[in-house]
């Protein structure tokens, strides 16, 4: 999306508020014409004017709300969500065609026998590359995109503070990460229910659980995979603070993901693979065992937490001391 479009979107959301602008502006900090853009980030209030400084905790949520509005209205993000939602449908149809041929392998058999399994199979395909692409596009664009478009300084002109802006940007990416995960899960679940018989789920361990238990396990998977994507978003956000070219941050994140996958494939480097983030992505298959391998899930979540803390603090250190030149 071009800068002009971005500005348009903001103008569209902010226009009704333009009249109340003067009351809220910090005098003398920036020219009036530019303050408009900053204030436009607040969504229009139905009641009209908000007293200056009245709702400081609210300001944070308003900023987050407006960020989310922008993220989920951007055509490219919607296209990514649509593509991710389409993949489980394609996998489901392909497996359906193969399954009717009669030649069944293990995984195909699993899916053909139960609709819920399609969700896990879809995740195991998508979590390796396609979902990281979608998440790093949003997270990598978050700071660098604003800097590149020249809108970052206006954002910072609002009395929000850099830490808070960074937090909003990160939460925005996390919500998008969970949205991506939920879209994949729902699409796979619907496709599975239409194409394959529903019923008790056979786990990898050979035990059978009820549909309700199966749905609960899907819910746990969504939580785990979403957390995995949130950890990746922290890396993309950190890289995003180092550049003004958003495609640089996005590409760097994806290169990191791919390099990790390559390193994982080399058996001699087995000792470092537990520390690579993508190693943990596919560990959601722990929910398909009986009993659920809580150890693997806990380890994975701890690793995600560690990545979020480390790269979150790097992003903060860089961003809070950065000279904003654009």
């Amino acid at each position: 999306m071009s800068t002009a479009e971005k500005a348009d979107t903001r103008a569209a959301t902010g226009d009704p508020e333009a009249g109340t602008d003067a009351a809220r502006r910090t005098p003398g900090l920036v020219p009036v014409a530019e303050t408009m853009r900053t204030t436009e980030r607040h969504p229009p209030e139905p009641s009209g004017a908000v007293p200056a400084g009245a709702g400081r905790p609210w300001a944070f949520w308003r900023l987050l709300g407006s960020e989310l509005g922008l993220t989920f209205r951007r055509p490219r993000n919607l296209v990514m969500l649509a593509v991710l939602g389409a993949v489980p449908v394609i996998i489901g149809i392909a497996l359906r065609v193969v399954a009717s041929d009669g030649q069944m392998g293990g995984m195909i058999q699993d899916v053909a026998g139960n609709s819920l399994m399609l969700t896990f199979v879809s995740f195991s395909f998508l979590v390796l590359l396609l979902m990281p692409v979608a998440v790093s596009v949003v997270a990598g664009d978050s700071i660098a995109g604003e800097a590149g478009a020249g809108t970052l300084r206006y954002l910072l002109a609002a009395p929000a503070g850099r830490t808070r802006l960074l937090l909003v940007k990160y939460l925005n990416a996390v919500v998008f990460a969970y949205a991506v995960t939920a879209v994949v899960a729902l699409s796979a679940l619907l496709t599975g229910l239409i194409l394959f018989p529903a019923g008790p789920v056979t786990l990898l361990s050979g035990t059978t659980v009820s549909v309700a238990d199966g749905l609960l396990r899907i819910l746990i998977t969504v939580g785990y995979v979403g957390a995995a994507m949130a950890a990746l978003a922290a890396i993309a956000l950190a890289l995003s603070t180092f550049t003004e070219v958003s495609i640089g941050a996005i590409a760097a994140t994806l290169v990191l993901v791919i390099v990790c996958q390559v390193l994982r494939a080399i058996p001699e480097l087995g000792s470092i693979t537990p520390y690579l983030l993508p190693t943990r992505f596919t560990n959601f298959d722990a929910v398909l065992r009986s009993p659920i391998d809580t150890g693997a899930l806990r380890e994975g979540l701890l690793a995600f937490g560690a990545y979020i803390v480390l790269f979150g603090s790097i992003a903060w250190a860089r961003f809070s001391g950065k000279d904003i030149t654009s």
């Binding site: 293990g106 059978t208 560690a306």
Partner: protein, 378 residues
Amino acid sequence: MRRGTFVRWGVPIAAAAVIGGAIGAGPVIAAVSGEPVLPERSAQQLLADAVAANSKDGGLPPMSGTVQQTASLGLPALPQAGEASPLSLLSGSHEVKVWYGAADKLRVAMPTQLNETNLIVNGGQAWYWDSSTNTATKLTIKAGARKEHELPTPRPTDLTPQQVAERLLANVDQHTAVRVINTAEVAGRPVYQLVLAPKAEGSLVQEIRIALDGETYVPLQVQVYAKGSAEPAFQVGFTQVTFTPPAAENFTFTPPAGAKVEEQTIGADFAENEEQRAEHAKDVAGQAKVVGEGWAAVAVVPFSLENLKTEAPAGQERGADPGALVDSVLKSATPVSGTWGSGKLIRTKLVTALLTDDGRLLVGAVTPEEITKAAGVK
């Protein structure tokens, strides 16, 4: 640079330090808090206690945990063997989960990426489940087959634990130095480590360490150290263990709907081919001999490559092609020659093998010098 910059960057550095600390905390805490010290025991006392503890009321106590097996034997790179193939155990690291309820209640699960193989033994029934092929195999152990094959070792119940320990140690003492370490820890539990160090100069084995739980005397870990390396060349042991009875549903198995169910009787094949096998074994045993004794023993077997390549594929259904495997191993072999003739030498950390041009295969856990010496003994 401004002072604030340093302070700011201190935050991620501190975060990295904390995370690094948390990862390394296990060993560090263990080192700082001092090793757990169990009361001192001699090797004989320890073995006697172990035998006593494990022979009463039906063997091992109920337990569950994760067993990890790691091998870095320094083998030449093997061509991709199937994950379930036994050959894959020769390199890298593998993990299985174990639930043990009683002598006839056992579940072993090997989780792999989006797959799992399970062996469930409950009473007289055993199931083998492979999720990748969606096959449940019901295993029946043919009555009688087991008794015939039982090893003629003295049964623990025939002797007092002290006697067993004495006998074991008497045989061992001649070639091996035995000591006990009482400060080790395995899977977070203090253990006794029984250390067996070969006395033979030419042995490639530095020592073998067997860890027995300090409380229950269950063997928790076996490590084999090669000479000149600080890390064990082969290790199998628990990384996590609890001594509580596992949930009963671990030992029940019903083949899921839609799965292929097969039946297999263990021992049937054995009985049929037994005569043939016995003959073959006698044949090989007649030709094979052992040079040297104790740890420095070298087995000498008549061997020809052509035989192996033509015979092997029939027996092996899955996994890597044995012909290709042999080729790749031979590629890494170094040609050697001496007064005894010439041949190809294959070296690993623990085992040396020599394939002589006159059709003999020498294998032993000894240095190359020892094995060529053995090749000279006709």
